[in-house]
């Protein structure tokens, strides 16, 4: 068997069909390698070998019976620890949930296991997905496999690092303001933000419900597209999941992109953009030209207001969603429980980390009497304008390309002292989150220090199949690849 590190889903299926290895052998080898390397990367919080081996045995039984294989048969998968897994501890990177064992599976988890995926374990993340570096994990930080003194991005840093390091072939993350695309760019892998409602959020622990998405990571566009195809589609358990047909996202990946109209927003190339990132993205735009795309400038005039709008809306929703952690049903309870109110206050004060408390305070403030109109309502109006910017731009282009992040992976600790500075690093990903459109980050070369750069491709609502076709053609033509 090839090392797990370089396996693709296609290669796994070839190997299984040719009986070069069994799914159980692959699961054992993947688990052993991932566990051995976890001290180095910190990408996993927990491994669930029994669950992976049971899934593998089911795949091997199907092979023995000559039954058709599911699209993820025998594929080692990692799942971000904000997505619930029945009987497997789910902490959200938080002390307050350190012993929570969910009694149910997220819909995305059910679907990926039904397709034959083997879940190796749960990945590290910023606490409740709040952060851009995974340094807000209550347990330990994640190191970027491309540069161990640097962060993997966040908040899905563990899921991005696990795929980049070859600990898993694909993984699930969640994206609220960039938490899939930004770590994908920092780690040099592919990360997809599906359209809002494309993938069921049932079983995704809520941070900001109007912005939360589950999405996939892979080392190739095709692998990530395969996982997306498995998890996408209407789910009666999530009333915001869309009743829109799911295209076969891998069927159109033919390497052809001629005739695509690609927009480059002028607002994304201003002050604050690292010169090396700007250079790699410009070279990437040349690749689109060479593929026969028509490249034109577009404008997204309200870009500059996106971060302020986002951090008001997401903290408001978070303050409401996180009210459920009260020390009663499933969260850690403080020893200080002389009165019910003290029990609530100290359980929350002791259980939440610094960034989560900061956001609860901010969110409660912007929703409180006298401030609601000035902050929350204003931010929701600006959000309408940001979404309209995209609708207008997509009148004349099929896709919009931008850097995924203004800079490559930064050093551990570098931005922890200044929360606002950390927030500003989300500038290029937040706009699409507010609009609810789809996006993907694809590797686009490396800096002179060897740090990965990500090209973000954004497309219209439910236009994942064309976006991924373009991303795949770019991946093939650019020769950037992952790794």
């Amino acid at each position: 068997m090839d090392g797990v590190k370089t396996l693709t889903i296609d290669r796994i299926h070839e190997g299984l069909r040719a009986r070069q290895f069994s799914a159980v052998e692959l699961a054992r080898q993947a688990l052993e390698a991932a566990q051995k390397e976890n001290d180095q990367y910190g990408s996993f919080l927990l491994f669930c070998p029994e669950r992976a081996l049971e899934a593998a045995a089911r795949v091997d039984a199907k092979i023995a019976a000559g039954e058709p294989l599911g699209p993820l048969a025998g594929v080692p998968v990692a799942v971000k620890d904000v997505i619930v897994t029945r009987g497997v501890r789910t902490t959200c990177g938080s002390r307050i949930l350190e012993s929570y064992v969910p009694p149910y599976d997220a819909t995305a988890v059910i679907r990926l296991e039904r397709a034959g995926g083997m879940i190796l374990g749960k990945t590290n993340c910023d606490e409740f997905a709040m952060g851009s570096s995974t340094e807000n994990s209550a347990f330990y930080p994640v190191r970027n496999p491309a540069a161990p003194d640097r962060v993997p991005g966040g908040s899905s840093g563990g899921s991005a690092a696990a795929v980049a390091a070859g600990q898993a072939v694909v993984s699930l993350g969640s994206d609220t303001g960039g938490s899939i695309r930004q770590p994908a760019s920092f780690c040099g892998v592919v990360g997809i933000l599906p359209t809002y409602g494309r993938v069921s959020r049932y079983g995704l622990v809520a941070f900001a419900s109007s912005l939360d998405h589950i999405g996939p990571f892979g080392r190739t566009v095709k692998d990530a597209a395969t996982l997306l195809h498995v998890i996408a589609g209407r789910d009666p358990a999530d009333s915001t999941s869309a009743d829109v047909p799911v295209a076969d996202y891998t069927a159109g990946l033919d390497g052809k992109a001629a005739g695509f109209r690609v927009g480059v927003p002028r607002e994304y190339f201003g002050a604050g953009l690292d010169p090396q990132v700007a250079d790699r993205i410009q070279r990437g735009i040349e690749v689109f030209r060479k593929m026969g795309c028509e490249v034109r400038e577009v404008s997204l005039p309200h870009t500059d207001y996106a971060i302020a709008s986002y951090y008001i809306i997401c903290t408001a929703e978070a303050s409401s969603n996180l009210a459920r952690y009260d020390g009663v049903r499933y969260s850690r309870r403080s020893e200080r429980e002389d009165t019910l109110l003290d029990m609530y206050r100290y359980s929350r004060g002791e259980g939440f980390g610094a960034e989560v408390k900061r956001r609860i305070i901010l969110g409660t403030y912007v929703l409180s009497a006298g401030y609601y109109d000035a902050y929350y309502l204003k931010a929701q109006k600006v959000r309408t304008l940001i979404a309209r910017d995209f609708t207008d731009a997509f009148q004349s282009v099929d896709a919009i390309v931008t850097p995924a992040s203004p800079f490559p992976a930064f050093k551990l600790g570098e931005k922890m002292a200044d929360p606002l500075e950390m927030y500003l690093s989300d500038i290029y990903t937040i706009t699409a989150s507010l609009a609810g459109i789809c996006g993907v980050s694809v590797p686009c070369g490396r800096t002179s220090e060897g740090l990965p750069v990500g090209m973000q491709i954004l497309a219209k609502y439910f236009d994942e199949h064309r976006m991924l076709r373009l991303a795949h053609a770019f991946e093939q033509a650019g020769g950037f690849g992952a790794g």
Binding site: Y100, R329, Y344, R358, I361
Partner: protein, 100 residues
């Protein structure tokens, strides 16, 4: 200053969040930075703009589809109580709120 320590204490009480004096000072400074930054939203004229209610309302997708209102199997109380810090007699236990 956009926000005072007194307001941070008030908001922390609304959120049932016990904070230390150090945390109050730190969050007051952090929130002040963020709220000053958020002032820039006032540069945008939104007098004739509706606030966003649901992102897909503009995409033409009928997401208001609700599932059929039929009874579904629910968790047993044993399962529901399994992760509770304190439970007994099939119930969640909390500090006493009513004096006998």
């Amino acid at each position: 200053m956009k926000i005072t320590e007194k307001e941070v204490r008030y908001v922390a009480d609304l959120a049932n969040l016990a904070l230390t004096d150090d945390e109050i000072r730190r969050y007051c400074a952090d929130l002040d930075d963020i709220l000053v930054y958020a002032e820039k939203l006032n540069e945008v004229d939104t007098s004739r703009v509706e606030p966003m209610a649901q992102v897909l309302l503009g995409s033409g997708d009928p997401t208001a589809t609700l599932r059929v209102d039929a009874p579904q199997p629910a968790f047993s109380s044993e399962i529901a109580l399994a992760s509770a810090p304190r439970s007994g007699a099939g119930q969640f236990k909390v500090p006493k709120v009513v004096e006998r």
